[in-house]
Symmetry: D3
Subunit: 314 residues, 6 copies
């Protein structure tokens, strides 16, 4: 029996899952890219260090997923393309930089795995996805709907990306779903507008009560075979599993629930990309939030590998 | 659509939920008051900083509760009355100061929301509640029964408040319930005396096994329409959700379970007040314990708002 | 009613559960011993401070277990025998020191409760158990199977103890079970060899899906009345409950699940000893991992007490 | 002898030094005001929580300074005016809000003590000071000159305030001094431009070599009786004394050196106000950085009290 | 050359400097004893865990002091006598317990090294020292004089021990010295009373300005050959060296200054005992405060060893 | 004036000072390489994460050193060569791997800057340096002499590298100096052997008393123009400046003293390489130890740049 490893996992320059660094996505099936931007944060900042923390945490992740029986390395070439430069304190210029930095990735044919950063970056992600794929079906795990039209007299921050995504037609509301929304709201009608647009909002209380299966089925049905995009805010997880985030929320979900749903959904859909946002290392003393975040990205890649296997074996 | 916010939630002097500071409860429906006292602590001290941590955590809590469909700001005037001064190292004088500081709040007609401090303060809370309302039905969430008669040759600390509350007739045992009691005990008969007084003790193991519904029903039935008081020790929660407490306990409960029960119970009862105790910021590096504690107080206020709505709409 | 305590639990030299220190196990039913060794760690080291952290956490554990209705102090004489000296950086010499240090404990008739240290120490534990009891039935809670044959060209580290235990005939595979294995693996066939030896591996996903009862029943049946050994890696627990460990794993289990299974299994079997490994205090800022670990040892002792009671009352 | 205290210092709503909260500075000699803004941060963000941390740390500061033999409470009425609202992610709008919020304070006759926030806020502070007092003599303690013209293609962040202050004529360079500048620079001529404008830059190495006395004398001479403004970046202190800041610097100064210089300088000058910036609580686990910052503000107030005493007794 | 060590220093039950545990001081020259009491704390509590932290930190201290050329193990038999039980929340009963627990140690002929706890315990220490030795000359390193007569209407806490020691005649003021007093005071005449009793107070500013030598000489001269007692509050050290304490103070002293003075003074005097107080582990994430505290105790023991050597070789 | 930066310093894959990653040192003047090995640690492990922490901290270091008036980027091509793989728990095999990994770097003509790892790696560093340069003059900053012959019956760990370096003739003792040695020792003659070999040991106490200048002069004189090697153990610094290390020592030195000495010495000598060891991120919550360590490497590179400038301008 061969020895499995010649290099301890704590060795080497930190790239995601110790994959090769490559400044462009040439030849890759999956391109990991960081967007270390947190000027859209309304409470505790610091997610600009999210990509570094996710890379650190990912070093212990190995390629084979036993739940999906899929080996990432066997089916996919994954590269780490580094980070997109943004400008702290300049929201709108940064959104442009994110969109402009991501469009070539979406065009390359590689599936982007985008590591935030706060949730404001998703507007950049979706503008880029839309530029290549047209309106996408959003699969959105979060404690917060992020569909407010503005804060403090200004349009863009991490509470508004999906308001603008809907307004700009970047996502197709009737095929899109938000899952896990919970916690105190500003008012009774805070969610009226996105619902009126056709967005399906699965409140946390509903998910707790009904369980995962019907929700998975509903998401698969809503999306169908359209191009889909996964946006995963780490605060979908309960505050116990994601203490390291800007606005943690109680009454949330376990990593078992999160990863089971991501695997069940993404391995059955036509995923164009994903972002994983709101990991805040300064409030994550043991690194479990970053580990959970890296595990979501791993589950997504394993889903891509599983789907490719399904197609190969058809 | 109007912008929802003109002041970022991290701005301003810290009061509970950013409510107005007012040294007396005049005109208020709910009076939040801190009792920063921890000389009754038998293991890790520091809950004297609990009120400050709960105020800090509460700044992100917004007024509307979607589970109860109740808006705190719409139905209630909430004020923060600051802290009651106590004397570190002088247990009995401090209990007097707590009682004397709380009686005017109970008399004012406002419902007190008392932020501890360790659990020894509940003897002061209940002495004040009793002075105004007579014996109350206790709804007590905790890992520990706190019905020991004394420690180290002395009567008062955070393991004894309910022994003395029973002895002094402050609570009505046949209408009172302790929920979530668990963990190693000093001896087989540690809980015999309180049970013999008529107190119902729902062990943690029973709650895990039977689920929330029957327990909620039993509590509602035991209390009926009597004046009730909620005492919530944060260590009712599992150590994962409440690492920041003096004697954390494993095998505990999630915030979803806790808040669901608090909302289900308190929105149906005649609540005269509550205390939230044992939040210890020094062991809470990510603030999730304080957030959970502030969320319990929020759920309690939302329950008051819901009950007021029910009465209005009858 | 007598006062329960004359010495606050934070007082005194730290021994496990404040039990007497005794350099040899004479006259004891249970001998707690630390093995502060972490040179077998492949990622984050520091479990050499595990025994000290477990002793600190254990000071709040009282003797009576209400779930099993068993009092440790009533049924058992427990002593703390201090630590076994090992040699950092010298793997093989340290394994010898562990075996040589433990054999007298196993011979003494006391049941050893061994506090690690990383999981590499279990090879020492099992070599000692085998020297006295012959092949044992392993009851192994863990996120990782630890049955790899070697790392980086060398045979021994914390990922290999059960490979060598199987190879050396220290455990009886057809009576042994691994429970909770999960997370990304090096390859599809990483677990083929141990399965081919007859080891039963209950994947985490299976335990989540089927629940505890059938697994408990299966373990009890596999072991029967053979001498058994409990090896509990703290990362069986979810990363939320065990952040303080070298390679935390998401999608894990609660302390309620862990302790329920340990009590249900160990109180029905002929346990020759146990080890509790991989508690890493540096990543455990609130001490909840050490508390969970100490609680596993407590549940094991309560199980011994319960079993002794069963035999007495037969 | 009377008891000195009736309220423990850990009690009460947190205001600076437990001074009264007052939304406007009416009747005050000193108006403390927070500017919780950090969108100008080029490395680690989080100073938006600086004002809260400084208030918390200040609760242990008592009114009498034995070095200056001056009692703050005796000579001055100090109030805490709360925080100025800014807009995360919108640099230029926030600078306007800061200036507009501060001008009324400068006009009121109270001396503003401004608590940051990152150093970008000083451009707002100086614009407000200038609106009332005209060009001021800057007394600037810092590791960094902050006279770069822009970053990442944009003009404003915490590395540029004094470039723009010079460009806009807000400070009078020939009467202004920067003290403690050190650490690696972008290039040999990074400081050429500000020096060419007449600014005196005392490098850290010079201060270490020559000691405090000649520098104090030089500053006093340069300022004379002009209106002066103190801008104190906490990273003037060595990283050991100010670990809690965004870009800590080694080879810095002790709190004894800092406070001695502040007291010696400010008690002899006509100070129009001060700001204390770059305290980052997330990297300040023991709170010593916030304590040092609050102590600088205390030393400044004691200097005002001392100067008022000098004038009274003339 | 022999190998110096057979047991790694991280192994074993934690006693001070790994010295033998012995419940009584029989046969010992030095008896280390913990007093885990913090109910006298006016700000941040938690020093009840000071003795445990000091023992942990002391495990790396070896016996030979090169500055004094003295070997502790060669000259002295040191034992660790464990902790004295106190009663949280009961100040006066605890002071009695401390005095009663210490008197036998002072009587035994061993020199007590007392590990606090907060500074209120020194009243107990001095009452015990006085019972055996009569009034002692106090050598007191601290940021605070602790000579206030009471707080919040009550006489005893950690700000009052030396008021009562003077009142009760436990110390001889004309032979006693306080060194390092600094920081804001309640009022101009806060130190008038102790000075009027004859106590010499060396303010921190004086020590910074004049240096160590004249102060050492003055202390030696004031004490002469009377029985002396060292009380060392860890906040004598600057907040950078002692972040882990209840009321840290800036503008303090280095460990080099502290240990140099302790060695220079104690090796020349007739020391009857010492206490080391106010180490607060919860604010000491890297353990440097506990290490500094343990090093003070080590310097004291090395001084005793040095003095014994001097006497032997006379 | 051009904008100085197009990429914020928190962006991008972490390499030392954001220098290019290059697996071999071709064309480089300086080759940074990590040795993440800590199995030689006798107390707190975890320095295997030192290289990652040093890279993270180094991202804020800019190229120009104003003290030496030298620009690293102008004079030198610096590359980051990643890490050398070692084998946890296998001391001797790892020393071989380190030597074998470093020899090509020394041969390449680039000056290696080696980032540890614990101090045991220096035996590997010196074996490699010796293989290329013959015996080197050691310039060694440390709190500990590390010249013990063995621990626990085994020859190699972080307390023994210079014993073996002397024994193997890797360093030339009469040209070598240890600076800053302090703290308790095992015995009076712990340093006799290295002194007898001709090594000059400057005790910490001597450096405090005499100041830096005579020591700098002595080192320069002892080395002359021989090939020299800098070994810098971060615990040369006081525990306040280097809390993040395995065995911190009090009574140490400031970063100003350390960097001043490194610059003064290394800019005048023929340096063949350096190592920077014992940075332990787990005990470095604010990152100041890693920053200090990275700054030592920066000062070393600036010294190389300065020396190259001197030669160019001759």
């Amino acid at each position: 029996m061969a020895f499995v490893n010649s290099s301890p996992r704590f060795c080497g320059i930190r790239t995601f899952m110790r994959m090769p660094f490559q400044s462009t996505p040439e030849g890759a099936d999956v391109a990991v890219v960081g967007v270390p931007f947190d000027s859209g944060t309304s409470y505790r900042p610091g997610t600009r260090f999210g990509p570094a923390a996710l890379r650190e945490a990912s070093t212990i992740l190995k390629p084979y997923c036993s739940v999906l029986d899929a080996d990432i390395n066997e089916m996919l070439k994954v590269v780490d393309c580094g980070d997109i430069d943004t400008i702290p304190g300049y929201m709108e210029e940064s959104l442009d930089a994110i969109r402009d930095g991501l469009i070539p990735l979406f065009h390359s044919g590689a599936t982007p795995v985008i590591l935030g950063g706060d949730h404001s970056i998703s507007l950049g992600s979706l503008r880029a996805a839309h530029a290549v794929h047209g309106p996408v079906a959003l699969v959105h795990f979060d404690a917060h709907s992020d569909t407010i039209s503005g804060y403090y007299g200004k349009p863009y921050n991490h509470g508004t990306p999906f308001y603008w995504a809907l307004k700009e037609g970047l996502i197709s509301p009737e095929h899109s779903t938000q899952i896990g929304i919970r916690g105190p709201l500003y008012s009774r009608d805070a969610l009226s507008w996105p619902k009126s647009q056709g967005l399906r909002i699965v409140m946390g209380e509903e998910l707790h009560r009904r369980g995962m299966e019907p929700i998975i089925a509903e998401v698969l049905k809503r999306v169908g075979d359209r191009p889909a995009f996964l946006s995963f805010d780490i605060d979908f997880l309960d505050a116990t599993a994601a203490p390291g985030t800007g606005t943690p929320e109680v009454e949330g979900f376990t990593t078992y629930e999160a990863l089971t749903m991501v695997r069940a959904i993404c391995s059955q859909l036509n995923m164009t990309g994903m972002d994983l946002v709101e990991v805040l290392p300064d409030k994550d003393p043991s690194g479990i939030t970053a580990l959970a975040g890296a595990s979501v990205a791993h589950a997504f890649m394993a889903s891509l590998a599983s789907r490719k296997m399904q197609h190969h074996t058809r």
